[in-house]
């Protein structure tokens, strides 16, 4: 159970003890947090003492009397606000004038309690304040998490773009410095490798654009009646040249027509990702099976390959954000590490899931389930 620390500042002992007695056994249900929240109470009889306690450690909720013998409640409030503490303040006022209320709010008070208050009023105000504080913290934590993911995303991208750039730069320098004779067979090879790296960068940039468009919601979704089978066939057609070059056969199985209400562009990206991956990570002479079916108001897409496969650890890794499995088997395969992120984001738009089953050196099967709307 979470415990919030309350500091009650009042020169009247009756108020301090009353608040302590009521809040000690008080519990607040916070839906976003696991279970109840309780309170531990500290007391101060002057503003000076309050500031000493505040300086010492974490206080979550400050119940602050407006009228104190030494420095006033408003002065305490002002000092606290300047320290930017992760805390909410409730002002206790004997005569709630609008003027004090406005000043206190300006200085950062969250709420008011007018003296004399009943235990119920104290509980209600405390509960409201606690919920607000915990929600604010949760929002902050989520924002921070999002920032971290962004940061990770950018550094992965920077790295993935830097590597092919360095490769192309190196090859061009070899040609410029005549280390490789222009027009020789070696120079053809060097140019071929350079073009391959540039193609990889182009693919990566395309993936980034897809991903940011999906994420930002900028891309307007246009739902239409689509035939999933037809889109699958188109994706297979696109992957054919790469497949033929390595004697890989691609087969589509399932009903002749599979109607679905979906954005055709999104479904196309899903298929292109699945099929091109199944070809890329396949072995020479391997097979790709694209299976389409319908079950329980959902379209199920299964793409199985006979490729290099992944270990359970690698599968687990794969489901993190923006990763590329790096091992000796994938070294010559071009990939952005964004494919699965894109797949997951798109599947989520259809209330769907992405599942992976894999055995090293046997193959991998991706199963994407998209709900029919």
């Amino acid at each position: 159970m979470d415990n919030l620390r309350v500091l009650v500042v009042d020169d009247e002992p009756g108020i301090r003890f009353g608040v302590t007695r009521v809040l000690q056994s008080f519990r607040v249900r916070v839906p976003e947090s696991d279970g109840d929240v309780g309170f531990s109470i500290a007391q101060a009889e002057s503003g000076e003492e309050a500031l000493t306690i505040l300086a010492e450690g974490q206080v979550d909720i400050l119940l602050l009397d407006h009228k104190l013998p030494g420095i006033s409640g408003l002065e305490v409030l002002e000092k606290v606000a300047s320290q930017d503490q992760d805390m909410l303040t409730v002002m206790i006022t004997a005569y709630a004038t609008i003027e004090t209320a406005v000043t206190a709010t300006k200085r950062g008070a969250y709420d008011f309690l007018a003296k004399p208050f009943t235990p119920e009023e104290l509980k209600a105000t405390t509960a409201k304040t606690a919920r607000h504080l915990l929600l604010r913290r949760e929002a902050k934590r989520l924002a921070e998490e999002k920032r971290q993911v962004r940061f990770q995303f950018i550094s992965v991208l920077a790295h993935e773009l830097k590597a092919p750039l360095a490769a192309v730069e190196g090859y061009l320098q070899l040609l410029r410095d005549r280390v490789v004779e222009p027009g020789s067979a070696k120079s053809d090879e060097v140019l071929g490798r350079s073009l391959l790296r540039i193609e990889g960068m182009r693919k990566l940039i395309g993936d980034i654009l897809d991903l940011t468009r999906i994420e930002s919601g900028q891309k307007k979704r246009e739902l239409a009646d689509v035939d999933v089978r037809e889109i699958a066939a188109r994706a297979v057609e696109t992957a054919q040249p790469a497949a033929r070059a390595r004697q890989i056969t691609i087969e589509v199985q399932g009903p002749e027509r599979l109607p679905m209400r979906a954005d055709p562009g999104e479904v196309e990206i899903i298929f292109n990702n699945l099929v091109s991956n199944a070809v890329k990570y396949n072995r020479e002479g391997g097979r790709v099976e694209v299976g389409l079916s319908e079950s329980d108001q959902a379209v199920v897409i299964r793409v199985a390959d006979t490729g290099i496969g992944m270990s359970p650890e690698e599968v687990a890794q794969l489901f993190g954000e923006f990763v590329r499995i790096k091992n000796t088997k994938t070294r010559n395969v071009m990939g952005s590490g964004l494919g699965l992120s894109i797949l997951k984001k798109l599947a989520a738009l259809y209330d769907g899931t992405v599942q992976v089953q894999s055995t090293p050196d046997v193959g991998t099967t991706f199963t994407v389930t998209l709900k029919q709307t």
Binding site: H159, A167, G170, Y171, L174, V179, V180, K186, T328, R331
Partner: protein, 132 residues
């Protein structure tokens, strides 16, 4: 004319490996290439080479170190040049001029990626005591 010395080049980046080989061959060396520390270790018993150039981070972040130690065990006289992108990527600096760090790394020279080939050639000619 004596046969040109053979250099073992180990890097898990195929482009870097290819470029290094082209450069070294143009400078008159023979090269043996390995795409991983594991592959290089397999080559050690049967391959004679005068010098090794290894990447630091391959299968593991310290693959280059362990490989350098294996090479020194085979023949302590074989110089090892370690190339690393650690400095530019992680902001970590390995001070190649400090004897202690070199001994720890098992390398005679540590060069930052991207490697300037002129500098690499200078180090090779110094370590092999030859003029290029």
């Amino acid at each position: 004319m004596t046969t040109p010395p053979t250099i073992l080049v180990v890097d898990d980046n195929p482009d870097f490996l290819e470029q290094m080989q082209l450069q070294l061959e143009a400078a008159g060396f023979q090269t043996v290439a390995a795409e991983s520390a594991q592959q290089a270790r397999g080559l050690l018993p049967t391959t004679d080479f005068a010098l090794a150039i290894c990447d630091l981070m391959m299968e593991h972040s310290d693959s280059g170190f362990t490989l350098a130690h294996a090479i020194k065990r085979k023949d302590p006289a074989i110089p090892v040049i370690m190339v690393t992108a650690v400095a530019s990527e992680a902001g970590v600096t390995i001070d190649a001029s400090s004897k202690g760090e070199q001994a720890w790394a098992g390398a005679d020279v540590i060069l930052d990626k991207p490697v300037r080939f002129e500098q690499l050639k200078r180090e090779i000619s110094r370590l092999l005591k030859i003029t290029l």
